[in-house]
């Protein structure tokens, strides 16, 4: 199917007129028609006729196309405002909210000629790791529909795995791109804080939120990042650091690259099959000439408590605007999980508790920054698991708030520090479920991570496999 091709292959076919933007749209909508009822990845699907109209418009101007994303259909986690297209953050509080403006990332993709076809399911407001905390029905894992697709961006990840779009835009606050990428067997990039504008991304926790691509491969992620990265006058926290041609730097050899293997990430609590798959990936990197060394990254265990002070505090503030006055729907419509996080955060910020919780967590944040900086001074990347376990059955996480939090153990510290991290498939468990790993890098070292990922994917088959739902 066309959706199996890489972005660059599709761009070549379009340039040579072997295929048209309409062909891709048509195939994708066919697949969506067959598959989405099984996995429920979409909250809002753009009307097919409208998508085709835009595709026809693109087809007429394709000679002028500069970006390889030109004419390609993409989806976004429903956490981004899109002018004229309903945006819910998976919460009934915004059930009928049609934004009057577009997120910078959406605008940049439209300018590049890509075509938005849908807004994807997620845990409401980003609150969750399983896309069960949604008001629009759970998203099912395309490899086993009795299991979670991960979260909070389960929708976009499941859509990429099922070939319902060429690429997707996710949003990662504590693992929301990487966790579902791992559980759906695809590739997701959590960018450095400030690499991509957050303007128009519905805030979960502003100091942790990051906007990044989700796609089949590291190479595809590189092409998307080239378009969406960069300083935005509308986001004071976006960085002036220049956007490099990530796709141009993929081919370089990774010989001599130094990769850290932190023992704290592989202690008990980590699923045996996941450990085995990542140890195997370590060998692959070594065989490609990288040097992998064992290191210690203490404090990992404090990541979850620190995250669950900072993120709820900020979310209690960010969700204050949904006061029932301007968006029509009452606050009662917040889910239990969201209410829990609002309450926790409100408590942590209250006078008398602020010093003991929020301020202390900020201090811990500085220590995390030091620890990661220490290691990354000597290493180009850190190799780690994404989640402690395989995709859970529905209810497993939702019924156990603590287990739900622990699902974030390996991902949250990366957001606390603001580092980039690439999650990609590195094998399959005995039950046929995908296994993911992550490569964590220095600030603004996306090109290194993408090159490591690309070299790995050139020698491994995992990213090419189709999930059961497509069979």
């Amino acid at each position: 199917m066309l959706a199996d091709f890489s972005i660059i292959e599709l761009a070549k076919k379009m340039r040579s007129k072997e295929i048209s933007p309409m062909d891709v749209i048509t195939e994708i909508y066919e697949t969506i028609g067959k598959i989405d009822k099984k996995i429920n990845a979409f909250i809002t699907l753009v009307d097919k006729e409208q998508a085709l109209r835009i595709a026809q418009k693109r087809a007429k101007t394709r000679e002028a196309a500069r970006s390889p994303l030109f004419g390609l259909p993409y989806v976004m986690k429903d956490a981004y405002v899109t002018a004229g297209v309903r945006t819910t953050a998976a919460s009934k509080v915004l059930d009928d909210f049609v934004p009057p403006y577009s997120a910078t990332v959406h605008r940049k993709l439209e300018d590049a000629g890509a075509i938005l076809i849908g807004k994807m399911n997620m845990d409401a407001w980003g609150h969750g790791a399983s896309t069960e905390n949604t008001d629009y029905g759970v998203t099912k894992n395309p490899w086993d529909i009795t299991r979670s697709a991960g979260g909070s961006g389960g929708g976009p990840a499941a859509a990429i795995a099922s070939r319902l779009a060429i690429f997707a835009i996710g949003e990662d606050t504590g693992g929301s791109i990487r966790n579902p990428a791992a559980w759906c067997g695809i590739t997701g990039l959590k960018v450095t804080y400030g690499r991509v504008s957050r303007y128009g991304a519905i805030a979960y926790a502003s100091s942790l939120d990051s906007v990044g691509p989700t796609a089949k491969t590291a190479e595809d992620c590189a092409h998307v990042l080239e378009v969406i990265g960069g300083k935005d006058p509308y986001d004071a926290t976006s960085s002036p650091q220049p956007v490099v041609r990530y796709s141009g730097e993929l081919q370089g050899s990774i010989r001599g690259k130094k990769i850290a293997f932190p023992k704290e990430f592989f202690k008990e609590g980590l699923d045996g099959e996941i450990r085995k798959a990542i140890v195997e990936a370590r060998r692959v990197f070594e065989s490609l000439g990288a040097v992998v060394e064992d290191v210690s990254l203490p404090m990992l265990e404090y990541g979850v408590p620190v995250y669950y002070i900072l993120a709820p505090s900020e979310t209690s503030s960010n969700l204050a605007r949904y006061d029932g006055i301007r968006y029509g729907n009452e606050r009662e419509l917040f889910t239990q999980e969201t209410k829990r996080r609002i309450m926790t955060g409100t408590y942590a910020l209250s006078s008398g508790y602020y010093d003991a919780y929020y301020k202390k967590a900020q201090k811990a944040r500085s220590i995390f920054i030091e620890k990661y900086t220490d290691i990354l001074q000597h290493f180009d990347a850190i190799l780690a698991p994404v989640t402690p376990g395989m995709p859970p059955k529905f209810g497993e996480l939702l019924d156990d708030p603590v287990k739900n939090m622990m699902a974030d153990l390996y991902t949250v510290t990366v957001n606390i520090v603001g580092l980039p991290s690439l999650a990609l498939a590195c094998g399959f468990g005995s039950s046929g479920l995908p296994i993911g790993m992550q490569l964590i890098g220095r600030m603004f070292s996306e090109s290194t991570l993408l090159a490591l990922g690309h070299n790995y994917q050139k020698t491994t088959p995992w990213h090419k496999k189709h999930p059961g739902v497509l069979a």
Binding site: V81, A205, S206, D235, S317, R321, S351
Partner: protein
């Protein structure tokens, strides 16, 4: 009966007249505009919108801090202040908590506690059966100036406010128009027994004051109210009260127990600010000559009386107008000063050159000062008495007296007009 001493602190909000709002590109000037025509995703607090600071507003706040002789922070930041109110679209106001742009400073004997920058809220418009929200004002830059509780009388409060108002206008950073709400005052008032040291254990904050006159009335009312309570053996409650101009009293709005917990925390959407000495001295260079310095200079350079210099420096526009007239060089400064003070030329429409020309054309006709008129009136009580009884000759007698005093200069018509205005 005990005697009491009032302890008063002031909190003043001043809207800056920057071109755009504090965190977005919408126009900051909102008075009289059609509701909700100057809004965008940022100042409406729409999902996903982010604030980007207005550099000018930060510079101007620093400038005010410097003009008040305060200390400018090397590192400052914005914080979120949370409370629910329909005119606050994000559920929090971007303000400054523990690292304001400026700490300290003085106006005369009164110490400034801090000067910080924040965003204004929208406005509620109450009609018969509905309340509407206008967000044109939402996000307009607002400077908050807080004094130490150094004020002990309504007169001192008035002096302070007049001086602050004048300084803000001189800096050209705000219209500071009380009626339009671009300057808003909140006194907090308590009283202690005369001779006692230390602050009372309570204070009463008064809101809804929109003129200098009302602030005096409200302070006066509160002092009396609190003294009466204390004399009856009651301690006044710590609370927020509102000034009701209609009734001429303050009314309890919110007690201490109901005080909000604002859950301040650093605004994550705006990186902290750092200012180098170089940046601060750059701002310092932009500070124009302030009223005190200008007055002293006028006295020295133009040999004006303190009284005249004071009048001429009341606003920067008037002082500039005067100096432009002086620069033309054809009329002595002192004569110009008298002319401008007495004739109050319409500065909007009369150019300095035109004014000088008309003075020259008037030739020997010199301006008649108020002082002379007053003096003649008090020297001739009998003539005044007679005029009031209806004797028109008495008026002519007074005109003659003024002319003699002015050694034959000045027009009889002009003198008659001025006398009449005093005799009414």
């Amino acid at each position: 009966m005990n005697t009491y001493e009032p302890i008063i602190g002031l909190e003043i909000h001043v809207e800056l007249k920057t071109k755009s709002k504090m965190f977005c590109g919408c126009p900051a000037s909102h008075f009289g505009k059609k509701p909700n025509t100057q809004t965008c995703p940022v100042c409406l607090g729409l999902p996903g919108a982010l604030p980007v600071s207005n550099k000018k507003a930060i510079e101007w706040t620093i400038m005010l801090g410097l003009a008040l002789e305060g200390n400018i922070a090397e590192i400052s930041k914005f914080d979120r202040k949370h409370y629910f109110y329909p005119d606050l679209p994000k559920g929090y106001q971007i303000s400054q908590y523990d690292q304001p742009l400026c700490r300290g400073g003085t106006i005369g004997d009164i110490r400034i506690h801090r000067v910080h920058l924040e965003e204004d809220t929208g406005k509620l418009i109450h009609t018969n059966n509905t309340t509407l929200v206008d967000f044109n004002r939402s996000g307009v830059p607002l400077v908050e100036i807080v004094t130490e509780p150094d004020i002990h009388s309504t007169e001192q409060a008035r002096e302070f406010l007049k001086k602050l108002h004048q300084t803000v206008r001189y800096l050209g950073i705000s219209d500071a128009d009380m009626e339009k709400g671009s300057m808003r005052l909140e006194p907090n008032i308590s009283v202690r027994k005369t001779g006692e040291k230390g602050l009372p254990s309570y204070k009463v904050e008064v809101k809804n004051i929109n003129s200098f006159r009302f602030v005096e009335k409200a302070i006066h009312f509160e002092i009396e109210r609190q003294m009466t309570l204390l004399n009856n053996g009651e301690k006044p409650k710590q609370e927020t009260r509102g000034w009701s101009e209609g009734k001429g009293i303050t009314i309890s709005q919110r007690s201490k127990e109901e005080a909000a917990d604002y859950r301040y925390f650093p605004e994550p959407d705006i990186p902290p600010m750092r200012f180098s000495r170089h940046q601060i001295s750059d701002v310092r260079r932009q500070i124009p000559e302030l009223p005190d310095a200008k007055r002293q200079r006028f006295i020295k350079t133009y040999s004006l009386s303190e009284y005249d210099a004071n009048l001429l420096t009341e606003t920067r526009a008037l002082a500039d107008f005067f100096e432009e007239c002086v620069k033309i060089g054809k009329v002595p400064a002192k004569k110009l000063a008298n002319w401008i003070i007495n004739k109050k030329p319409d500065m909007e429409n009369v150019l300095p050159a035109a004014l000088v020309k008309s003075i020259l054309e008037a030739g020997n006709v010199i301006s008649i000062s108020d002082d002379v008129i007053k003096q003649i009136l008090s020297d001739n009580p009998k003539a005044v008495e007679d005029y009031k009884k209806g004797k028109q000759q008495a008026l002519m007698f007074l005109v003659g007296a003024v002319m003699r005093q002015m050694k034959g200069k000045g027009s009889a018509e002009e003198i008659k007009k001025m006398l009449l205005s005093k005799l009414q």
